[in-house]
């Protein structure tokens, strides 16, 4: 007697849908961009001649070296700064951790363009430090002092990228520090190790993987960032902006695809390296670690506190300048306060683009959370074949290796094609209708930000006993009822975390969207680029401020929600 089992059918259907979704939104576009990089603009197969052309174009090649240089220097500075910052807060436990933490992650809530815009206001030719302060001093002292800071270009990009990458490496290192095992320190102490010796023999080795991971992350982030160099780069070309110039500026799609592939290579290597490190790391951390509390050392701790305050002030200064400037009538000629830049009259995008961003971010967060959580559930809890599980898991982590710019280029290439020529057959592209819609931007965001929340969901689901499903099934309770009654309430913090992550990142991202927007669907971040391109810097500052305000409100709501829910679910899971 064979019995039709509706739960298993649903799982099967969902699996089918899931794999097809990832196929259409990830595999096919990426395959296509590889293919395009081997074609010329007439669609003929030319092997690697695009790459040959790339390496023979001095201006493109120069950008590659510039990008590598910028990324290395950014990484060194940013990892060092965040290491000391995290060391002070999580290892020396100097106090004010909520405040320091909050400020440190602020840049995550802002677009990278905002850092560039602030730098223009601070150090540009009419900047606060480069013009206004010196002129004020000259007036008082009667001197003729002038200051020129070459902020457009190398210096400006470095500062912006350090601000951008700081929170990322800070978070990685913060986790690494909080895993420090007290027992090791006690052992070292009983063996008579000096503080310096302890630092080098216990602290540093336990952070090895955290530091490596932070280094890789920072390198890739600054290597692939588009927003800041677009604003502050001046004539200092970097590869991320080249892709934009090739694709948007000249619509040279094959070269855009080629540069995209070149951008992809380091990211991909880093992805593999990072996966490797993550695997190692999970072995070294045991759940038996006992949290470490250091002995207080007043002078040393106060120096560290001073350091943290300085870093925090610098971050607030960079973020705050754009906010401040957005309320100034006409920098540097008229310092009256005004709200007129927030009307976005006569500038690209206008207020609609802000609402577009909200819409796109909410859609991304809602559909993304559903997709990502259910995918993780499929991998972690369902009874599908191992092969499917590992395939989904691999596909889910793959976006970590793909920069947003490459996703954007891959999407226009894939979704704007009406007919594919596959082995001599013309096949109509059934997904062409997505081109130029909100939907494609939502999908690109979901794919772009897929991996991190996917891992969050996996971790969350791992905490739930695998027998819950079995018990529920044996009690003849339908799957959907079990899911809503047990899984969802138990995973609420994970879900909120994923939702928040997707929302905030969709609000600040520009890289993929800059290729996918239309006049109707233009998001705020693209509007910022357009405004800045048109020279409407104050409006761009105002839009950047709107984004960070929105994200701050969300962050406060998020923190409050998490606080109440986490307390409850932590208690539930206590044994």
């Amino acid at each position: 007697m064979k019995v039709f089992n509706s739960d298993r059918t649903i799982v099967k259907n969902f699996l089918f849908f899931y794999v097809s979704f990832l196929l259409v939104t990830l595999i096919l576009p990426m395959f296509n961009i590889f293919k395009q990089s081997l074609l010329n603009s007439d669609g003929d197969f030319v092997m690697f001649s695009n790459f040959v052309e790339y390496f023979h174009s001095p201006h493109l090649l120069h950008s590659l070296w510039n990008s590598i240089l910028v990324s290395i220097i950014t990484t060194l500075i940013s990892v060092f700064l965040s290491f000391v910052y995290a060391y002070a807060i999580y290892h020396r436990k100097i106090g004010w951790s909520y405040l320091f933490n909050f400020v440190a992650i602020l840049p995550l809530l802002a677009t990278t363009m905002m850092h560039g815009i602030s730098l223009v206001y601070l150090f540009g030719n009419q900047g606060f430090f480069s013009k206004i302060i010196p002129e004020l001093l000259n007036e008082i002292l009667g001197t003729n002092f002038s200051l020129h800071i070459p902020i457009y270009g190398f210096l400006g990009i470095i500062i912006s990228e350090v601000i951008y990458t700081f929170p990322q490496s800070f978070m990685i290192l913060a986790i690494a520090f909080s895993f420090a095992d007290k027992r090791l320190y006690e052992a070292a102490e009983t063996l008579g190790a000096s503080p310096i010796k302890k630092f080098f023999t216990v602290t540093l080795p336990s952070l090895k993987y955290g530091l490596l991971s932070a280094t890789i992350t920072n390198f890739i982030l600054s290597f692939t960032d588009f927003g800041a160099p677009k604003i502050i780069g001046g004539t200092y070309n970097v590869i991320a902006v080249d892709i934009y110039k090739q694709v948007v500026g000249q619509q040279n799609i094959p070269m855009g695809a080629t540069v995209g592939i070149i951008l992809l290579i380091p990211s991909f290597i880093a992805f593999i390296a990072d996966r490797f490190i993550q695997n190692k790391r999970s072995i070294t951390f045991t759940s038996k670690s006992v949290p470490y509390t250091p002995k207080k050392h007043r002078i040393f701790d106060n120096i560290l506190k001073l350091y943290c305050i300085t870093v925090a002030i610098l971050i607030l200064l960079i973020i705050g300048t754009s906010i401040f400037a957005s309320f100034i009538k006409n920098w540097p000629y008229n310092f009256q306060l005004t709200l007129e830049h927030y009307t976005f009259k006569d500038v690209a995008g206008g207020m609609e683009s802000y609402f577009n961003s909200i819409l796109i971010s909410i859609y991304t967060a809602v559909t993304g959370t559903i997709l990502i959580f259910s995918g993780a559930y499929l991998v972690e809890k369902s009874k599908i074949a191992k092969l499917f599980k590992s395939t989904i898991q691999l596909l889910a982590l793959l976006p970590l290796a793909i920069p947003g710019l490459v996703i954007g280029v891959a999407y226009i290439l894939f979704f704007n094609t009406v007919e594919f020529n596959i082995m001599g057959f013309n096949i109509v592209n059934p997904f062409n209708f997505l081109y130029g819609t909100y939907t494609i931007m939502v999908i690109s965001n979901i794919i772009h930000f897929f991996s991190v929340p996917f891992l969050t969901a996996l971790t969350g689901l791992k905490k739930l006993d695998n027998e819950y499903e079995t018990v529920s099934e044996s009690l003849s309770v339908p799957f959907y009822k079990f899911f809503t009654k047990v899984t969802l309430p138990m995973s609420i913090t994970t879900i909120i975390e994923i939702f928040f992550y997707l929302f905030v990142n969709s609000m600040v991202t520009v890289s993929a969207l800059v290729f996918l927007y239309t006049y109707e669907t233009r998001p705020a971040t693209v509007a910022i680029i357009n405004m800045e391109e048109a020279g409407d810097v104050a409006a761009a500052a105002a839009m950047s401020s709107l984004i960070i305000f929105t994200n701050l409100i969300f962050k406060v709501i998020f923190d409050l929600l998490m606080k109440s829910f986490r307390k409850r679910s932590d208690r539930w899971l206590k044994h």
């Binding site: 064979k2 099934e473 009690l475 009654k485 047990v486 309430p489 138990m490 539930w572």
Partner: protein, 350 residues
């Protein structure tokens, strides 16, 4: 004879070509309490999961009251399952956990459901705790909730997967009695998986002894204890001495042996080589010096006073009485792995 309630017919299960269950046949009577007993890795939990439908089988058939239920999904079988880890839903209270399986059943009214939950709570003595969350309960209480949850749906079969092994010794004994009481009150056919022979002996109507994917013996506790079919069963259920005499191979329980101060007709000279105090009795290790059973080492359970007296008056040289009627005869190559060294006897699994 009455038809069996549950019948397993040639159940075979492989994991990556490794045979976990090797054509297992089993019949369970209605209303009985059966224990599947065996060491870890013997396939007992897999067998239980196959009965429940959670696990798919490779070959064989499962019948319930004569119906083939082999391909029926767990949700269609209406069996209650209790796991070692309790698997209580942490976000639901005791009452909510118990009511969980009733909710999607349309045959009950709201009032019915309330009444059932109330009855179940009473059955497992958790009236005080009904509004608490699992994290507020002790391990024993949590297992009672799991039991009540499984029983609330009036299952056709109650399946218990090592339900007591995560608990401390004292709670375990207490809950053991509870299990039996609840079984007797509800009359639900129950199958429990355990590796604890004491649990199996005290609790069940029938014991199914398993080893390496095969059923070694099925019988009442007394039957299995007194007449083990082979050395494996003999050693796994209770403690057993194995004696070799020429080509012959015997088993004898330690409590069937007697230590004598002076020789008797059938006694054998022996030497005490060790002993441990066990409260009411001593467990004494003895080396037989000469006679038919020379060179065998056996353990003897002797009442404490008697042993102290013997030790005081005779020292280490004693005699041991082995009565022929207490010997269990095994064939010399009955598959018992080794008779050397410490494997000579198996202590109970405590």
């Amino acid at each position: 004879m009455k038809k069996p309630y549950l019948r397993l017919d040639g159940i075979t299960k492989r994991y990556d070509n490794k045979i976990v269950l090797n054509s297992v046949n089993l019949e369970i009577k209605k209303g009985s309490f059966s224990c599947i007993l065996g060491p870890s890795g013997c396939g007992k939990t897999t067998l239980l999961r196959i009965i429940s439908g959670i696990e798919q089988l490779d070959e064989g058939l499962v019948f319930l009251e004569g119906d083939d239920i082999t391909d029926l999904s767990p949700s269609k079988r209406n069996f209650g399952i209790v796991f070692q880890s309790y698997a209580l839903f942490p976000n639901l209270t005791v009452s909510e956990n118990i009511a969980y399986g009733l909710e999607s059943r349309k045959k009950f009214t709201k009032k019915d459901k309330k009444q059932i939950v109330k009855n179940m709570i009473k059955l497992v003595h958790l009236e005080q705790e009904k509004d608490r969350y699992p994290y507020q309960l002790s391990g024993g209480q949590q297992q009672r909730v799991a039991l009540a949850r499984a029983l609330a749906i009036s299952p056709k079969l109650l399946l218990l997967d090592e339900p007591l092994s995560a608990l401390d010794a004292k709670v375990r004994i207490e809950l053991r009695r509870e299990l039996r009481r609840i079984h007797d009150e509800t009359g639900i056919t129950t199958i429990m998986v355990t590796h604890d022979q004491e649990e199996a002996l005290t609790l069940s109507d029938h014991i199914v002894v398993m080893n390496q994917g095969n059923i070694e013996q099925i019988g009442t506790p007394d039957d299995v204890y007194s007449n083990p079919k082979n050395p494996f069963v003999a050693s796994f259920v209770g403690t057993m001495n194995f004696l070799k005499a020429g080509e012959d191979f015997f088993g004898v329980r330690p409590e069937k042996l007697t230590i004598l101060k002076a020789p008797l007709a059938d006694s054998h000279p022996a030497e005490i080589i060790g002993y441990e105090f066990r409260g009411s009795y001593y467990r004494v290790t003895v080396q037989i010096i000469s006679g038919k059973y020379a060179d065998n080492e056996v353990i003897v359970d002797t009442p404490s006073e008697q042993f102290v007296d013997t030790l005081f008056s005779s020292g280490k040289k004693i005699y041991i009485d082995i009565s022929e009627k207490d010997l269990i005869i095994f064939s010399p190559y009955s598959g018992f792995p080794s008779l050397k060294g410490k494997n000579r006897f198996f202590d109970d699994n405590l």
